[in-house]
Amino acid sequence: MTALLEIKGLKTHFRTEDGVIRAVDGVDLHVNEGEVLGIVGESGSGKTITALSAIRLIDSPGEIVAGSIRYEGRDVLAMSKNELTELRGDRISMIFQQPRVCLNPVLQIGRQITELFDQHRDISEAEARENAINLLTSVGIPEAEKRFAFYPHELSGGQAQRVMIAIALALSPRLLIADEPTTALDVTIQAQIIELLKDMCRDLGTALILVTHDLGVIAEIADRVAVMYAGQIVEEADVYTLFENPQHPYTRGLLTSMPVLGNRTGRLSAIPGSIPKPSDIPAACRFAPRCVERVARELTICEQREPQIMGSEDHRVRCWLAEGAV
């Protein structure tokens, strides 16, 4: 299968007064047509920056310093401003964490959809309006005709995220990037929104990159998962393999720190320590200082050399402990 979006060796750095922050530091990723790729990691692991880099939404002081990004074989990093605005929204679209602040507060929600048609498609205003109402209906906004004229503040968080999804999918993009789309929502709404995303993307044949820290969401929707830690991918596999046979101690840590319904036998386990400060990332394995398995097996290489990402196409791991690494 050819990859829809292919990222190779991506490095996005931020120049700050405290030195260069390597937010994304050598990420390889690809998404195939119609596939759902989950990117998981803690806050600060670089998952959002990776997503933003994919459509070059990185502002100063951030900068993509190395790597290549190809969409359908075209070099995104070499695109002109016009090509980029055509790419965004039309081919690749994005939704964010806080739906209510991502909608223009002074514009009726329906108009925020028709505006996209106005910009990217050559259709009449009546058609655009009809399309927008259909879209709103399809994302589960009741009485869409009436709500067309609602302002964002009149919507609940869940409704606003539905509208965001409608806007993002208005032009039937080939790829949707969703950055923590459910984090700001009530738990009860989260499931509905994930379900909606899944259905909409499947119906439109849109590939989805879902950035989240919620493994539950990943299990629900993703085909393939990439686990990020401190700006790098530490493990990547299809969702079943990852959940059944996690190779990286960090992935294992994440999985065991997930609460299991009905299991009240023990304390919830947590990964000790926290993600290294971006300005002082260990030169060797970035996870080594927090790695309980390294301590248990008394490996010294973890603190001396940085592991490379290894393994087959189906399951890649960046760890000295992984099978066949040492």
Binding site: R88, G89, F96, V101, P142, S156
Partner: protein, 296 residues
């Protein structure tokens, strides 16, 4: 969730669909909005009505009845040429409104353009524009007005133009600040992620979001402009006699301050009340258009 949405659907049924309608309704219930509104509407009415509704002609000289104190015949008395002050004051409201609106329009148009360019353009544009604005702001206000009028010659129109130009820096600063803040807003980022170009974001997304601030700011600059123009007329640099412009009326009247107080009081009070009314109205507008209030 379904139930709450239904309830909302019913409470927000059709008649209240626009922000404008909602703002108007809130304005009518606002106390200083009511008072200010009455003053402003009175000004607008007499400005539009013209001479036909007035008891006397504004320029009709009646030497026999000169400097008459207020009476039932002449509500505000007469001036040194026997002209009816009541009629002149009411008629003068058209100058007041025109000065306020025209000069504010000039200030807003110039200021918005410069502010958008500075906030939305490149760093170089920002630097150049804001330095010019700084220079204009560093100039003493009255001196700036005098300089412009000195170049163009004294008349009603040049005084409006001068007041307008002197108002540009304020608008430019306000708009630039808003643009800079809004550029970082998440919905602007979201617009970019959806492929909106630079100009579309500037005019389609950011500009509509500064309208309420602009309306509020305008409601405060209009009375200031009126005051400034009245001062210019008083100095003989604005509207010229015999035009019944309030500032110009004060000039002739000040000679009679001891003998006929009403000649001074009438235009003075007119200026005072109309400015007060406009300010009250502006306060109400600010309350009503406050986005936080809006979402209630």
């Amino acid at each position: 969730m379904a139930t709450t949405m239904h309830e909302r659907g019913e409470t927000f049924s059709t008649p209240e669909r626009s922000n404008f309608a909602r703002a108007m309704r809130r304005l009518l219930r606002h106390r200083s909005g009511q008072i200010g509104g009455v003053v402003v509407l009175t000004l607008v009415f007499f400005a539009l009505a013209g001479e036909s509704v007035l008891p006397y002609e504004t320029l009709a000289i009646d030497p026999i009845n000169r400097l008459q104190p207020p009476s039932l015949e002449h509500f505000f008395g007469t001036d040194e040429l026997g002209r009816d002050l009541f009629s002149r004051i009411l008629y003068g409201s058209r100058y007041t409104l025109m000065i306020g609106l025209v000069s504010t329009a000039i200030a807003a148009t110039g200021g918005i353009t410069l502010g958008l360019l500075a906030g939305g353009g490149g760093k170089l544009a920002d630097m150049l524009i804001m330095r010019v604005v700084d220079v204009l702001l560093a100039f003493p206000y009255i001196l700036l007005l005098l300089a412009i009028i000195a170049i163009l010659g004294p008349s009603l129109w040049t005084s409006m133009f001068a007041v307008g130009v002197a108002g540009i820096p304020g608008y430019a600063r306000l708009i630039r600040g808003e643009v800079l803040a809004l550029k970082e807003a998440e919905f602007v980022e979201a617009m970019r992620a959806l492929g909106a170009g630079h100009l579309r974001i500037l005019f389609g997304t950011i500009l509509p979001n500064v309208t309420s601030q602009m309306v509020i700011y305008a409601s405060f600059t209009i009375p200031l402009a009126v005051l400034a123009a009245a001062a210019l007329s008083f100095l003989g640099l604005g509207a010229q006699p015999p035009a019944p412009e309030w500032g110009a009326m004060l000039v002739d009247a000040r000679t009679f301050l001891r003998t006929a107080w009403w000649v001074v009081a009438a235009p003075g009070m007119a200026i005072f009340i109309s400015i007060l009314g406009m300010n009250l109205f502006g306060n109400a507008l600010r309350d009503v258009l406050d986005p936080k209030e809006m979402s209630k």
